[in-house]
Structure formats: C-alpha cells, structure tokens
C-alpha cells in the first residue's frame, strides 16, 4: 500500500518536473532564430511612477517585436541600480535621474557591473513650485527674493511653523539640500520632509482643492505641472561652484545659495547585456523619447485614465521608422 503511494507520489513529482523542464528549456530551442542571440529573458525594471513604466513598456514592446523574451519586473528605484542591475537580475532600467540618483549612479559606475546606456532624452527639472493663486498673496513671486518678505512667508505658514513659512520638501532619501538652501539664502521657512512623493502630491491636491497656501518640491516630467496651474520659483541659476564653493553667490559664507540642478535622465543596463544580447543592447542604447510627447502621454494615462499598454501601443505604431533606424 505505502509502496504504491510512494510510486504515485514519485510519478506526480516526475510529471511536474518534466512539465517544468519542458516549459523552461526544451521548447524555446525550437524557435531559436538568429535575432534573439539568447532566449533568456531580458528583464526591464518598472518603478513606481508613470513615465518610467511607460518607457519600459514601450522598450519591451520594441524588443518583443524583434523576437526577444522580455519581462517587466516591478522593483524599487534606487535599490534596482544598487543591487538588481549589478547582479544581472535586472537587465535594463530606463530612467535614472541626475537629480535624485546621482550618488547611486556614481557608485554603480565605480563597480563596473553596470553600464550607462546613454540619455533617454527628456531633461529632469525639479524646483520649489507654487500654485498660481498664491501670486495674489505674495506678489513678488516667482522671484525667490519675494519669499524673504516676512508677510509672504507668513502667507505660507501653518500654526506650528508660524511666523515662518512651511515648505514641503521631498523624501529625505532624495537629498536636494533644501535645509541648507533655506539657511544659505536666509529664507524664513521651515522645511518639512514628505516621506514619499505620493504623500507630497496628496498635500498639493488637498491644498489646490481649497485654494489654500502651499509651496513644495515638484519635479518634471510629471503630471502635476500639467494638472495644476502654477510656477517654479526662480532661484539664482545652479552652477557646480555654487554647491562646492561657499564664496560663490549671494551668501559668501555658505554653499547651496542657488537653485537645484537640472539634469539628464539616463538609461542603465547590466554590464553583461552587451555580450549576451548585442542586438537588443544596440536598440536600447539608441532608444530615446521626446519630452513633449512623454508629457502628453503621461497626461493621457494619469489624467485621462488610459492604460499604459494602450498608450505604448499607439507610440510604437507611430514610430515604426525610428525603431527600424535604431535596429540597424
């Protein structure tokens, strides 16, 4: 009796195993063609904002059409470049911003386990931002010097920060040097850090609904500047010296007496990609995106509630010529 059961169990295990082997290794060989140099899956990282997921989906569709096996893997923005891309668990990440991932990218470059695959195209911008209706209460805006006016600061205050204004900064993990900036420029503001950007935009939405005062960190490409009417604060233009040399700028004793740097958005890949999938590597390197088009598509997804798949398909259909050029 027990022998029989054992045999049955062995049979089940064997059939499961053979099915698994069948589906993972035997079958793909049948369709082995010249273009996919390897049938192993190319893994493209998804993060948690719309733009990057759209770009990743578009790239996956391009590569799939070439015959590659492609999978989209959800992962964490900075953790992906610090672990996944280095070990080869992820193959490509399409958006690493100079403004938020500079340190991580420098580390990754130093490790030699990843490769910078060039610019995506759109330029990242991030800065203090206020809704348009705040100009009434603080007429000097968008010039940053208006914020020095105590009356202006008070207009942006809440009971626990008054008389100082309340500036909602990004999550501490983003860096950004806002505490230093406030100090260096002598702004009567208190910096409050949001934990995530979801929380940050929740506050903006809430304030905007009530036409209530708010000033916060916004970045683009993002749907917020499209949905809400407002302007960037104009700080003294960023230069490298401003962040490194105290003597530069308005405050001779402090660094960070200027605005935030603008920056590129980079594609990164696992260093082994070049040899494993040369053709896909070339396409990924050539893949670029137009800023205005990206903004429009993000709006279609986040504001008009179209699905990412749908929007990506439309883009691929429209850009067949470009794709062909990239593959040559």
């Amino acid at each position: 009796m027990s022998k029989l059961r054992l045999a049955g169990a062995a049979g089940i295990v064997a059939s499961v195993l053979s099915l698994a082997v069948f589906s993972t290794s035997v079958l793909p060989q049948r369709a082995m063609a010249a273009v996919p140099e390897s049938t192993d899956t190319i893994k493209i990282a998804l993060f948690d904002w719309t733009g990057v997921n759209l770009n990743a989906t578009i790239l996956s569709k391009i590569l799939k059409a070439q015959g590659y096996n492609v999978e989209l893997v959800t992962s964490d923005y900075l953790a992906s470049i610090n672990t996944g891309l280095r070990t080869g668990d992820l193959t490509v990440g399409v958006e690493y911003w100079d403004t938020t991932a500079k340190e991580a990218m420098a580390d990754a470059d130093a490790s030699g386990q990843t490769e910078n695959l060039g610019k995506l195209g759109p330029r990242a911008k991030e800065e203090w931002w206020f809704p348009e209706y705040m100009k009434e209460k603080c007429p000097g805006l968008p010039n940053w010097e208006a914020l020095k006016d105590p009356k202006c600061a008070e207009a942006f205050s809440t009971p626990e920060t008054a008389p100082k204004g309340r500036y909602l900064g990004g999550p501490v993990t983003w860096g950004g040097f806002d505490d230093e900036r406030v100090e260096a420029l002598g702004l009567p503001f208190e910096v409050v850090h949001a934990g995530t950007d979801a929380a940050m935009f929740a506050e903006l939405e809430s304030a905007y609904q009530r036409k209530a005062p708010i000033i916060l960190w916004i970045y683009s490409p993002h749907w917020a500047p499209a949905k809400f009417k407002g302007e960037w604060v104009q700080f003294p233009e960023y230069t490298k010296e401003c962040y490194e040399d105290p003597k530069w700028g308005i405050n001779p004793d402090a660094t960070y007496d200027c605005g935030k740097p603008h920056g590129e958005i980079w594609k990164y890949g696992w260093a082994g990609m070049k040899d494993k999938w040369p053709e896909a590597y070339k396409i990924t390197k050539n893949f670029t995106m137009d800023t205005d088009e990206l903004d429009a598509m993000i709006g279609e997804i986040d504001l008009d509630k179209k699905s990412i798949d749908e929007v990506a398909d439309a883009w691929v259909a429209k850009h067949q010529a470009d794709i062909k050029k990239w593959a040559e």
């Binding site: 499961v16 195993l17 099915l19 698994a20 589906s23 079958l27 793909p28 369709a31 063609a33 273009v35 996919p36 893994k43 948690d48 719309t50 997921n53 799939k64 059409a65 070439q66 015959g67 590659y68 096996n69 893997v73 959800t74 992962s75 964490d76 953790a79 992906s80 610090n82 672990t83 996944g84 070990t87 668990d89 992820l90 991580a104 809440t158 009971p159 626990e160 909602l168 501490v172 993990t173 409050v192 850090h193 949001a194 934990g195 995530t196 950007d197 979801a198 929380a199 940050m200 935009f201 929740a202 506050e203 939405e205 809430s206 609904q209 009530r210 209530a212 997804i301 986040d302 509630k305």
Partner: protein, 673 residues
Amino acid sequence: MAVLDQTAPASALRWRNWRWSLAWIALLLVAIALISLPSLAPWAIDYPKQWIIPLAAELKALMKWVVKNFSIVTRAIASMLQLPLDLALGLLAKGFTIGNGAEALHLPRLSWLGLVVAFTLLGRLLGGGRIALIACICFSYIALFGQWDSAMLTLASIAICVPFAVLLGLGFGILAYHSPKFDTYAIRPMLDLMQTVPAFAYLVPVLLLFGFGPVSAMIATIIFAMPPMVRATALALRQVPEDIQDFASMAGCTRRQRLWRVMIPTARPLLMVGVNQVIMMTLNMVIIASMIGAGGLGYDVLLALRSLDIGRALEAGLAIVALAIALDRLSQAAADQGPLDPTAPARRHRYALVALAVLIVTTLGGLVWPWLASLPKDMTLTTGPIWSEMIAWINVNFFDAIDATRTWLLLHLLNPVKQFLLKTPWIVLVAALGLLGLYLGGIRRKQGWHLAILAMLLFAFSAVVGLWEKAMITVYLCGISAIFACLIGIPLGVLGGRRALANRILGIVVDTLQTLPSFVYLIPVVMLFRVGDVTAMIAIVFFAVAPAIRYTSHGIRQVPAHLTEAATAMGCTRRQLLWRVQLPLALPEILLGINQTILLALSMLVITALVGTRDLGQEVYIALTKADPGRGIVAGLAIAFIGITADRLMSAWARRLRQGMGLAAAETGAANH
C-alpha cells in the same frame, strides 16, 4: 496597584509601596540634577559619539562576505523556488508562452469563471452554503471590479508561499516540541525577532542573496509569515492528551508513526489555526512584496496612489481584503471539519470532478469566446470617482475644523511628549526601565532581576549603535498611538463582547482593518491632516486598534456563564456585572490585546516613514533605498528590541495582576467546570 498581595498585612504593604515611591523619587532627583548641572556628567545626558559602536558598517562587511561566498547556494535555492512559482503564475495569471517573441504559442490561463465556480464549490464542500456564498461574492467582486489579473498574480504567489511557510513552520514546531532546550535558546528568540524586526529591514539582504524579483518577495514573505505556524505546531503537539500518546505506543507505533499518524491528526484543529494565520500574514505582506518585484494587487495600490487615484487604490485594496476574507473563511471551515468523516472521500471526489470539469470547459471555451478568458473592460465596474470626490468634499468643507484638531494635538500632546523623551537623559530612561522591570517582575524573584537587566540592555542598544534620538521618537509615536488605540478599541471590544450584533459588525471591521493595506487610507489621511506625526499616528491607530477590539471582546465572551449568572442572581446591575465580574476576569486577555496592539503599532513604523516621520522606521526605509543591509538590520533590531521589551514588561504586569486578583484559582476552576 493596591491589590497586589492580599495576604500581606496592611502596614507591610504600605511600607513596600513607600519604598517604591522613594526609588522613583530618587531617580527623578538624579534626572533633575543631571539636567540642571549639565557639566556634571555630560555623557549621561547625551550618549557620547565616540562610544557608538559602528555595528551597521560591520554587518555590511559581513553581509558582503556572505553574499560573495554563499550566493551560489542561495541562487540555486532561488531558481528551485522559481519553478513552482512559474507553474502557479502560468496557471492562474499569465498562461504559458511557448517559443519566443512574436510567433510564440500561447496557452491560456484558467478561466475566471471556472475559478469562481471552483472556489464556490470548495466553499460548499468545506463549510456548506454560507461559506460557498462568501467565496462566490469575494471572487466575483475581484472579477467584476477589474482586479482579476493582479489578484491572480497575488494568489499565485500566496499559493506557493503558504505551503512552504506551513511545512517549514511544522518542521521547526516539531523540533521545538522534541527539544525544549533548543526551543528556549534558539527557536523562541528567533521567532521573537522574526515577528518584531520589520520586513523592510531584511529585504535588502534577501535581495542581495536571492536576486531581484518574485522569488525574493516570496522568501521575505515566508520569513514574515512562518512564526505563527511554529508556535501553533509546538503548542498543538504539547496539548495532545497523554493517554492518546500512550495508546499509540501501546498499539505498537514507532516514534515516527506516533508523530505523523496519531499526534498530528489529533492536533489538526490547532494546526489549521496556524495555517489560517499564515495565510493572513502572507496577505499582509502583499504591498511590501510588491515593492521588490512581486507585482500584483500591492503594486496596483502603490501605482494608483502615486497618481492620487484614491478610488482605484481603494478598489485594489479591497480586492486584497476580499481575497483575505475568502481564504480565511475557507481555511477556517477546513479547520472546523472533524478529522474523521467516513463519507468525506467520496464526496470530495465528486466535488473535485465537477470543479475540474467546469475549469476545463470554461478554459477551453475561452479560446473560442474571449470573455471567458478575461472579463472585457466594459463589463467591469468602478466606483473610483465617487471616492475621490468624497475626499475632495470633506477636504473643502471640513478642512478648517480638521486642521484645528491637528494643530491642537500636535502642540498640546504630541510635541510635549516628544520633547520630554528627547530631553530626558538617556541613562535616566534606561534606569527607569530597569526599575519598572524590577517592580513588575518582582524584586524578590530571580525573574524580576532577569527582566530588569534584559529591559535595560535591549533599551540601551539604541544608544550604543547611535540611534537614540530616532528610538525615542519611535517610543513616543508608538506609545501615544497604542494608548489611543486602546482607548478606542477596549470599549468597542466590551460592546462586542456583550452584544452579538455589535460583535458581528466589529468582526468585519477588524478583518478589513487588518488586511486592507494601510497605504490605502494613508494618502486620504495625508490630504486631510498634512504630512507629519499626526497623520502617522492616525494610521497607526487604525491598524493597531484591531487586536485591542478582538482580544477584549473574546475575553468578555469567554467569562464562564455560571459566573455571570451567579452575579446576576446576586442582584448585580449590568454596570456592576461589567466592572466587578466581566472586566476583571477578562483582564489577562485584554492585556494580551494591549500587548499585541503595541507590537502592531511598531510594525506600522516603516509605513509611517512614507509620510515623513523621523523615527527608526525612516532609518529602515533609507537603508532599503540605499541598499545598505547593515543599516537596515541595525535599525530593525532596535525596533525589535523595543517591541520585545514592551512585550516582556506587559507579560510580567499581566502575571502580577493575575496573581494579585487570585485569578489563577478562578481560571483553573473554570477549566475544571
């Protein structure tokens, strides 16, 4: 506290209390002296920087070495786990793709309609019509609200995680049962850590060892969900009556036969409670797992909240709740089934055949009629816009009142407590904990001294690794939240314990609160209360109120009927019945509830870091994004040690109260009855 030792003469009692007051006053004087004369002993006020042990850096180096030398083993394990996961994903969510690229042959996944029917049949088999209806409603909700694709991704990973966690838990539980020494010195401390170190803290090591993707998410989930199974197994085996074991030995069973053929089947009901807990814990991890590559419903929630689509986030969150309720009721029904039912196999086979037939027919039918494969988009429902509009309406009309409340709480309650904890010299707080440990554990008992030393060591850990300030913010935030949760939860629990209807409604509320990912309500709360500590506190209270309700209500309901009847017969009013009989008898359970509330509050920390708190949770979160394993583990341990300290102190308090009220006698009396 006056009812501690009823046998002692009144004068001795007074002297003893007097002595304790003296000790506390002495400590207070030391604190005042230290603060007013800061030059006296600056090291006692702020922990000196040069004394900090750079544990994080050392752990990071160790981790690097482990990854370098053992990643072959861990990667092999990962690829082994990948196979069953791929199978489950293929069956439930993605279908199987054979071949490459565009010309690939695609085999369909199981049809949604077939699965709804199959789960309904399973419910009918396990628990009759009511369970069948619940399963049917839950899975239909998922299909109709357009959550099917993601829900099946989630279900597939649960389907693989749960068996692994159950088997591992069973193994460790049996080990703990066989070797009490191993249990005390290895398994129990390990379980304590597994349940109190936040999952975020070990995500980075898991990622480094097992690679990015669903498998890592699975492993983290298994670590998180296993402890209740170990505890349930050890407890269940210990509870198997002696005579059954003796009978098995007399019948000539070998040791192994006795375990697997006699003891495990006898212990089945309690084991199934463990399985049920594993399922619920697995669902709790859905959001966190989605951050490192599991995808599914958790990812939908995150994505929807990133674009501030509260309605969509809520619907995805409720799909997790629906999945949880369906699986919870099904597994509970399975647990309630008698171990021996002679008609069961034939009935089971009949049901299995019908379900299989429906699955095959609908799945193959899906090849012809696409709506059977996946429900078309225009047939799905959404309530999304309503929710966003509701929040907007509250926001526009009630924000001023809400903001006034928030400001008041912040200025008059939260900030003063925070300042108090931050300004008090660290050494005084550590000493105070030691004193509390002695007081609660009993100064004359060896355990009392053990407790005091343990509490002091665990608490001082935060200072030694340089996280004192963040640890104090943690204590303040969790402490206040736990107090609020108890103030709300215990009265509700009392209500539930005394009225059946209230109990049923509260049951649903508690289930929802515990499985609805807290992130879903975090964002609306941010819209109304702004980023900051008040928002974090509200989120923690929402999550941590559940055990306070559940344990209180359970405690009141299990007061033996003959006691309440006797009390009523003696002429107690309802109020007297509550205060003199029910509450005192339910006190141990209520304390256990408070204990669990504190632990849950601590486990919410990492989530609250997402709305900008500056506590240990934030430290863990920063470590995750910077992929620094050492930093995350150290901060995680600091959280765990705060939790373990609270747990031990609460347990000591509960024991003390029980002894003081002579409850031990009442309990055994009730058990004998």
